[in-house]
Symmetry: C2
Subunit: 217 residues, 2 copies
Amino acid sequence: MRTAFHDRLDKLTCQLAAMCGMVAVAMEKATRALLEADLGLAEEVIKADTEIDALRLHSEEAAYALLALQAPVAGDLRSIVTHIHVSEKVERMGDLARHVAEQARRRYPEPAIPAQTRDRFAEMGRLAVVAARQVQQLIATPGRTGYAELNEADDLIDALEQNLLASLSRQDWQHGVRAGIDVALLARFYERFADQAVSVARRLDYAATGTLPGAHG
Amino acid sequence: MRTAFHDRLDKLTCQLAAMCGMVAVAMEKATRALLEADLGLAEEVIKADTEIDALRLHSEEAAYALLALQAPVAGDLRSIVTHIHVSEKVERMGDLARHVAEQARRRYPEPAIPAQTRDRFAEMGRLAVVAARQVQQLIATPGRTGYAELNEADDLIDALEQNLLASLSRQDWQHGVRAGIDVALLARFYERFADQAVSVARRLDYAATGTLPGAHG
């Protein structure tokens, strides 16, 4: 019985890691759609998010079914609760990638961001994808901890967001209100994406060690 | 034994409802701080959020301790998992109230929003506080469902956010880029606050019925 339980838990973990991989791909494509005003790519991301949402629902239901079938012991319980929590965070990361893609679609055929902000968005996108890939690895490798590393990537993205917001507040911002708001909201999507990645790493550290690192969820 | 377990679960539930009440108060004060450029009130909210964060950590640890002490049966398990989930959402609502207060503090002694947007923020604030109070009630009354009701409040806040964003995009917006971004981000904080409230209601419905309403977490 214990083995069947662990087999099913392993399968869930594997599916969740794959879902996180889809989110990394979504963020990579969404960033390209943003940088290159690529409508087709934006629509791909938006469409794929429906699939990610469905996977999450399935993942959560399977976790509850596993709980209901067998009353697991403390460590396994923590794994399942973590699984449900992480599923939600990963889905939320997918939503944020979709938000980036929607913004690219909304402004098409114009670019959604002014040329002077392009490099910073490219870098935020790169960092976000790396973070999602790290999270995928962490999910797939129970027991590995990655909170400190993810936190560092999050700090870098935060700094880029602050830098962008500072650009918008300067007198020499020449792109008007709408572009300013687009940039501010987009920067926030990347920042929130990285926040969720940190939150997942924190959860997984907890499942591994039994101690919650830091204050934030 | 079963009774001791349920007593402890009831106590946790009661504490979580109280925490949600604190969040409702925080959003009420944050909105007043925003509308009246009240620095003292903004700082109260910011300070209280540290307490809310600590309560959440405590609440989550207590839930895990309860899981570890006793392997609960399916229905009770779902209650505890829901409890952990809801704790996080409520803390996040507190964070969003703090973001509103921080924005009021950042622009002090100037008002953080142009006069022409005041009524709409007052209404968003009112709806957000009502939503938080409803969530508090739902937490305190296990078995009651409130998803549909909360969803309606969320739609109203979404509509106000869209209305504000439309104002910013019009030619007659005369408050510049920075104020435009402030309004867009603030509107988003209210919108996210309501989203979390809906998500909590959805979770609680699930705990009550065993069926997840709608797709969103």
